[in-house]
């Protein structure tokens, strides 16, 4: 009897252990972003926290998947980012890289990821080239891109009545492309571009340009700039009382972290497009609450939310594929619909573009805000199909 029980127990144990052993997959994820420069608030340590939360919510340990997270600072330098990426892939056994803001670094990392046949889930970078002419079978572009921002801020603004535009454009390729893309969207939606002015980059004094914009009587002043230029121009616009005068300011590449840094007094009335806002529904609020506790009270930005959502989907794909082979997992990721509390239901297109809704927000007046981080009111919602570039137009060689 005793022996029988023992045998049975051993057999049962062996049976249970066998699949567990077979399923034991260990995954190493690298969060590569800016931890010391201008994008540190947008991505930085917050993205690492988001990745940890994704592992926690996925209950990886119970599912026999061991997940390890490493992180590094690419200092917004492509050569630093590229060395770290190569080292992670060649030596440290990293399977996928997450985040990677700054377009030049993102493009470099995407190229190496393709050469080494690993996976890049990009959340931080804006360039739509990642899913366009520089697209890669190993890259998913998760959170946003400049095309979607132009669609959101340009198209939805015109529909909401802002049909005449004046651009304040940072005088370099990025600013030019933001202006060009948004102008095209505005004109297509039936709006009119009444003028544009190029501002030296990087700039500190925008007063003469803002006066020009004010004098143009355009309903919307499009800010085709980012970072320091954006904060400076918004602050100075508020000093001139531009939004109080009835004109709208539209930030073409503006994040919640910028609004937080500016404060409501300066940023009020600014219109911008994001794919995630912490206070959108119960799901985002619950996540953001947990996140803020770990991140010194700061709510997640869309880039950090994208890291969470991207890693979660990757882990689901690994679980479904029972493998971490890049090609197999990538096929699963593109095959399975995406679903999580932060971005809702979505999918990944063949060129690596993650599809989800984008939202047009307006920054509240200080009097409307009910507390810290209560910044946005929603003006419009764009479905993924409306927001992101149609596949045929992307110029991505993967699209047949």
């Amino acid at each position: 009897m005793n022996l029988k029980t023992l045998l049975a127990a051993t057999a049962l144990g062996a049976l249970m252990a066998a699949p567990a052993l077979a399923q034991q997959i260990s995954v190493k994820a690298g969060v590569l972003n800016d931890r010391s420069g201008i994008y540190a608030d947008l991505s930085g340590e917050g993205s690492v926290i988001a990745a940890r939360l994704a592992v926690e919510d996925f209950k990886a340990a119970e599912k026999g998947i061991k997940v390890e997270i490493v992180s590094a600072d690419h200092q917004n330098k492509p050569d630093v980012g590229s060395t770290i990426t190569r080292q992670w892939y060649d030596q440290d056994g990293v399977d996928l890289i997450l985040d990677v803001p700054t377009s030049s670094v993102a493009l470099a990392v995407s190229q190496i990821t393709k050469d080494k046949n690993k996976i890049l889930i990009n959340s931080g970078a804006g360039t739509s080239d990642l899913t366009g002419k520089a697209c890669s079978p190993n890259t998913v572009h998760w959170t946003y891109d400049t095309y979607a921002l132009a669609q959101g801020t340009g198209g939805a603004m015109v529909k909401a009545g802002g049909d005449s535009w004046f651009f304040l454009t940072a005088d370099y390729a990025f600013g030019h492309s933001l202006e060009r893309d948004t102008s095209a969207v505005v004109t297509k939606a039936g709006g009119k571009v009444v003028g544009a002015v190029r501002t030296p980059f990087p700039g500190t004094d925008f007063s003469s340009f803002l006066l020009q914009a004010q004098a143009s009587k355009a309903k919307v002043i499009g800010l085709a700039n980012a970072g320091g230029d954006l904060t400076n121009s918004v602050k100075q616009a508020s000093e001139f009382g531009i939004t109080q005068g009835g004109q709208k300011l539209a930030g073409l590449l503006t994040f919640a972290s910028d609004v937080h840094a500016l404060g409501l007094q300066a940023a009020q009335g600014l219109v911008l497009t994001e794919s995630f806002y912490w206070d959108r529904d119960d799901g985002t609020r619950a996540f953001s609450e947990r996140f803020a506790k770990l991140n010194g009270g700061k709510k997640p930005t869309m880039v950090q939310a994208g890291v969470y959502s991207g890693l979660l989907h990757y882990l689901k794909a690994v679980e479904a594929a029972k493998s971490k082979d890049s090609a197999v997992v990538m096929a699963k990721m593109k095959e399975m619909p995406t679903d999580d509390p932060l971005f809702g239901k979505g999918s990944i297109r063949v060129n690596g573009r993650k599809m989800h809704s984008m939202y047009l927000y307006e920054v509240k007046k200080p009097s409307e805000s009910k507390g810290p981080w209560d910044y946005y009111k929603q003006i419009a919602v764009l479905s993924g199909e409306e927001a992101f570039q149609p596949l045929a137009e992307t110029g991505c060689p993967l699209v047949k």
Binding site: R35, S36, A40, G44, E45, V70, S71, A72, D73, H74, Q75, N76, K77, P78, D79, V80, S82, T83, I84, R86, Q87, D90, Q91, S103, S104, L107, A108, Q111, T127, D129, A134, D171, Y172, A173, F174, F201
Partner: protein
């Protein structure tokens, strides 16, 4: 100078002896560096070592100008960066083999150095530094405003490493490493030769006392221009090689912070020493790389090291060692 030396024969003999032992020490050091270069890719990560070598060559080129020409250029990023753009562009769009792309990049940097140098050496000290900085910023704006050539802020990406001489594939990190190591060693030997040539002696004389060198009949401005062009060309060689190693060229390389970084490398390693910049470059690049996990602390640590360097050993790491062993390094 000869007068002084011959009037004091014992000292002259002693000087000759230290010179001799220094030369022997240098020869041994070169052998040690060569051995290190051979061992390095097996111990450390090859791509990282290649990065160190590129920056070390850059710092060596800069040190040639500052340490031996006495000219503080604050715009060396221009030659480094433009050469990396030229090399990346020609390798990618014209399909040049890597050695041709690197040579072309170097040539463009030397040419740029000739133009910028001819303008800048008319002034001295801080004015010289400011003029080089201003000219380098012009190169930066050129890069920023010509996305068709430089790719704007996305840079030139996916540069093919190609085949050396059209035969040897450099796709493998190890193969590429030997090329980079050879370029580095060649650059180092060339710089060593320049410093210890009669030309180098005159440069040092001009550095120490320009009016006196002029009074002795040397055309100081021609010497200064020559050393400037050499330095720019070698900086270009480093930049062009880096573009092939990382398969990209970006605005980081032409931005003024890169000019600052090379000053930092040279100062930390030891200004006016032959081997100092190599150590300095290794220290700074290693910090950028291995402290990357520390996040925002990288800059703080870099700052602390710089402050400590200035306060504790102003001659730089190698400079201090040279003082201990009482031999020039």
């Amino acid at each position: 100078m000869t007068d002084l030396a011959s009037s004091d024969t014992p000292t002259a003999a002693a000087v000759a002896e230290t010179d001799d032992s220094a030369a022997r020490l240098h020869r041994n050091l070169f052998i040690a560096i060569a051995v290190l270069l051979v061992v390095a890719p097996f111990v450390a990560y090859p791509v990282f070592v290649m990065k160190v070598l590129c920056f070390a060559l850059f710092a060596l080129a800069f040190n040639l100008l500052l340490g031996y020409g006495g000219l503080l250029s604050f715009g060396h990023a221009a030659y480094f960066g433009m050469a990396s753009y030229v090399s990346a562009y020609t390798a990618k769009n014209w399909g040049l083999t890597p050695e041709l792309a690197i040579l072309l990049g170097t040539a463009v940097a030397a040419l740029l150095g000739l133009v910028f140098g001819a303008l800048a050496i008319r002034r001295q000290g801080i004015y010289f530094a400011m003029i080089t900085l201003a000219l380098a910023q012009m190169a930066f704006f050129f890069s920023l405003q010509t996305p068709r050539f430089t790719g704007g802020e996305d840079g030139i990406q996916a540069v093919p490493r190609g085949k050396l001489l059209g035969m040897i594939s450099l796709a493998d990190d190890r193969a590429l490493y030997w090329l980079v190591a050879a370029i580095f060693m060649g650059g180092l030997l060339l710089i060593y030769r320049i410093i210890h040539s009669p030309f180098g002696q005159v440069c040092k004389a001009i550095r120490d006392n320009e009016p006196r060198a002029i009074s002795l009949g040397y055309r100081a401005s021609q010497y200064k221009l020559a050393v400037f062009v050499l330095s720019a060309g070698l900086a270009g060689l480093a930049g062009a090689t880096k573009a092939i190693v990382f398969q990209l060229a970006s605005l980081t390389d032409v931005y003024w912070t890169m000019s600052g970084e090379v000053v930092l490398m040279t100062l930390v390693g030891g200004l006016g020493t032959v081997f100092g910049p190599i150590v300095g470059a290794a220290v700074i690049v290693a910090m950028q790389n291995y402290l990357a996990g520390l996040g925002s602390w990288v800059l703080v640590v870099q700052g602390v090291i710089f402050v400590a360097c200035v306060l504790l050993f102003r001659e730089g790491i190698v400079g201090v060692i040279a003082k201990w062993i009482k031999k020039p390094l």
